[in-house]
Subunit: 194 residues, 2 copies
DNA sequence: GATGCTATTGAGTGTGCGACCAATAAGCAA
DNA sequence: TTGCTTATTGGTCGCACACTCAATAGCATC
């Protein structure tokens, strides 16, 4: 992949290099798991010495936390993007449900399981997980409130409904690493106004 | 804890020693996590050389899988024990819900998150997780069927309801490692006949 | 009390990890 | 062009891990 023949140093803008590192780490997090984010591995991906990663992230845990935050934020942006003009809450929610079911969502489910478990031992990551949980909950709640205000959705308490949706989503996603075969499709959530 | 002064070999019955090792590993799994099951750690707990653990479990992954299986099975037995004579399904289900909510269940939630994540990399563990998921689902489904047959529960399909309950339980348990504060109690499942 | 089986030990191997640090060179500014 | 800042390198250290294997000693059996 990278040239072994001779190292040619490329001196980059610190901010750009840092972003590059985080992006690489986020990609590894999604594809292979947060524990695969090692100084050696990320350095290899960027064709750079491991020490350089340490230079930007004195503690490896910081990079792991940052990588998760970036990956989760990007995924959320894909699931609940800013409303296009004239787009109704029902359409946006339908899009959300369409993307959160099916095998394509497995990678994100795996990431969440991964992060929630690793949080047990990594305080910095735990903080990021809490932050992202808040972001996801907030963005979905906002949508539900809009839908209720516009008369498209009907629920006693949009905030409670938000949590209920996320709980079911987490419950369904729990098996992303284990379920080989068919999912319990019977337990699918209804993607229509309630 | 253990005597460092002099090692006195204690030669035990293989089956007993093996069970002792698995029990110790299961305890570590519940208290600290599956990745804390190391040859050194378990050997230390039993005041025995690490090599002995290898003797019984040529591959460490086998021990991890076995430990999870034992821990999960024990917990299930505590949550859904065999019906005492005259005990009605409603009482048994109430007991189940009583034990699966609240902080006391956090340790089990943590274990499941742990196992489901680690399953990503450990095939033997993945098999055990699938096995235990089947056991939990089967035991709960059996109870629901009894309740429906006896007229205590009302549901179109007990098997679907079983999965729905477990999905919600998994969803609620997902935050066992991260939630510091109050849970979304609003999203609690109803522990009464439906 | 002697014998044999094997549970148990002790010591060692190799791997991958994060962290540390002095030396080096890229590229900007003067 | 010269010089300076610092991004980047290269090498090293210590740790924890699983795994291997010959040597040892409990303990049951005879």
């Amino acid at each position: 992949m990278s040239s072994r023949v001779q190292r040619k140093r490329i001196r980059k803008d610190p901010a750009a290099r840092r972003a590059e590192i985080v992006d690489a780490a986020a990609a590894v997090a999604l594809a292979e798991g947060l524990e695969c984010i090692t100084l050696r591995r990320i350095g290899e991906d960027l064709d750079v010495r491991p020490g350089l990663i340490s230079h930007y992230f004195p503690s490896a845990e910081e990079l792991v936390a940052e990588a998760f935050g970036t990956a989760a934020r990007n995924e959320l942006d894909g699931l609940l993007p800013a409303a296009a003009p004239g787009q109704r809450p029902t359409e946006r929610l339908a899009r959300f449900f369409a993307h959160t079911t099916g095998d394509a969502y497995d990678a994100i489910s795996r990431l969440w399981i991964n992060a929630r478990h690793l949080s047990r031992y990594r305080p910095l990551l735990r903080d990021r997980v809490a932050e992202q949980e808040g972001a996801w909950r907030g963005r979905l709640a906002e949508l539900l409130h809009e839908g209720v205000a516009g008369g498209e959705f009907r629920t006693a308490d949009p905030d409670v409904t938000t949590i209920q949706i996320l709980v079911v989503l987490d419950g369904l996603g729990a098996h992303a690493n284990t379920d080989i075969s068919n999912r319990p499709t019977a337990a699918r959530v209804r993607a229509r106004p309630w």
